[in-house]
């Protein structure tokens, strides 16, 4: 800039500042107000410390008197008050389940169910229609099979829809069923294959498929037909036994 405004302002400010008389002492009002403020701050610090210490003491006492389950490592008997939050129930995995077939011979076919039992201590859920695999000599059969979706047994029986269906919740030891109808296994005399039900985490081997034997070969050259129903709660047949 061509003018000297910077210097003029600087001079002005110094001159104005120098006009003020110096202070000879501390005003009494400042001392009294400051003293009150310092005392209030000190008191607030002490009170806060007491509150924190009291809270910590009460917290430690509460933990000692009633240790949380997660800290002691072993489950404790349930107290009189139920837990306010229940753990989320997850889908069943293959490691939790054991599968057994319960089939009977029918007119040219085998009919019944595959029952999956929750062998774990945790509840889990099953939903939808599972994938069924058939194996011979530990190799999946990839041809000559026709899978057909079929209704659940409760619909076939015209009974009321089970509570919660299509989700089936299995507590420990409970079982779900899949309705199965299997026909036309060729050539005649062919050994029954190994069955697997695929759920999350891998397949579950099905035991007991060989009990009634494979169905007869009613249509040579035709694929074997397997009707598969969705998961549904297990209901023991009137004359049969549970899993």
């Amino acid at each position: 800039m061509s003018d000297d405004m910077d210097d003029r302002v600087r001079d002005l400010l110094r001159r104005k500042a120098d006009d003020l008389p110096p202070h000879r002492g501390v005003p009494g009002s400042v001392v009294s107000r400051a003293r009150r403020r310092i005392a209030m701050n000190a008191l607030a610090v002490v009170v806060a410390a007491v509150v924190v210490a009291g809270g910590a003491f009460a917290g430690v006492r509460a933990i000692v008197a009633n240790p949380p389950r997660g800290l002691v490592g072993t489950p404790t008997p349930s107290s009189s008050q139920p837990s306010p939050t229940l753990p989320a129930i997850t889908s069943c995995t293959s490691s939790q389940l054991q599968a057994a077939a319960s089939l009977q011979g029918a007119a040219g076919s085998r009919e019944g169910s595959i029952d999956l039992t929750n062998m774990s201590s945790n509840p889990c859920t099953l939903e939808g229609r599972p994938t069924i695999s058939l194996l011979e000599n530990n190799r999946p059969i990839t041809s000559g099979l026709t899978f057909v979706a079929s209704p659940p047994q409760w619909q076939v029986d015209a009974t009321p829809k089970p509570p919660g269906w299509p989700v089936v919740t299995l507590t420990s030891g409970e079982a779900a069923s899949i309705r199965i109808r299997w026909g036309n296994w060729c050539p005649q005399g062919r050994a029954a294959p190994q069955w697997q039900v695929d759920v999350g985490g891998g397949p579950v081997d099905v035991s007991g498929m060989d009990a009634p034997g494979a169905p007869p070969c009613n249509g040579p050259g035709q694929p074997s037909t397997i009707e598969v129903g969705p998961f549904e709660p297990f209901s023991a047949p009137a004359s049969g036994s549970g899993p």
Partner: protein, 176 residues
């Protein structure tokens, strides 16, 4: 016992504050006066600043930092004061139905101060005035001024530049 301890802390810190007041009050009042243009107001602001800082002396690890701490507090209190006054003025103007009837532009000669440049400084915004005072009276670099005003150094440069331009135009206008 608690009361005695609080009293002891209060007495210790009050004594310390007294020492700091005697050492720094003159500079602080000068700064406040240059920021406000009002001696009585400057005294009040500085006393408020010391009282406010009294409660924080225990946290002051570096005694040499008190100077900067006090300067920043004075600037903040000054800005708060003018913000409050602005709100009050706006409210009063609305209450009186005098919206738009602002004070006449130009210098106020009724205050008895014949220094036109000092008078012209009243026309600056509070932030412009603070930037100019901190820059030319306190001789602080733009970076430090920006820290105190809580803005970027570029903003400080702009505030100073526009403030000086306002002063120039006012002085030229008066000279004509």
């Amino acid at each position: 016992m608690l009361s005695a301890e609080v009293d002891r802390v209060a007495a210790t810190d009050t004594g310390r504050l007294g020492e700091l007041y005697l050492r720094h009050a003159d500079d602080a009042v000068r700064l406040a006066y240059l920021l406000t243009g009002d001696r009585a107001l400057a005294e009040d602001l500085v006393q408020d600043a010391f009282v406010r800082l009294a409660g924080r002396l225990v946290h002051l690890r570096d005694p040499d930092a008190f100077d900067a701490y006090l300067r920043r507090t004075v600037v903040n209190l000054s800005n708060s004061y003018f913000r409050r006054k602005k709100v009050e003025r706006a409210y009063l103007e609305r209450a009186k139905g005098e919206v738009g009837a602002r004070a006449p532009a130009g210098l106020d000669r009724s205050l008895g101060d014949r220094d036109e440049l000092w008078q012209a400084m009243r026309l600056l915004s509070q932030r412009q005035r603070a930037a100019i005072v901190l820059r030319f009276y306190e001789d602080l670099p733009e970076r430090r001024v920006a820290e105190i005003l809580r803005c970027r150094p570029g903003t400080v440069k702009s505030l100073v530049s526009r403030g000086l331009e306002t002063l120039r135009s006012e002085i030229r206008g008066e000279d004509r």
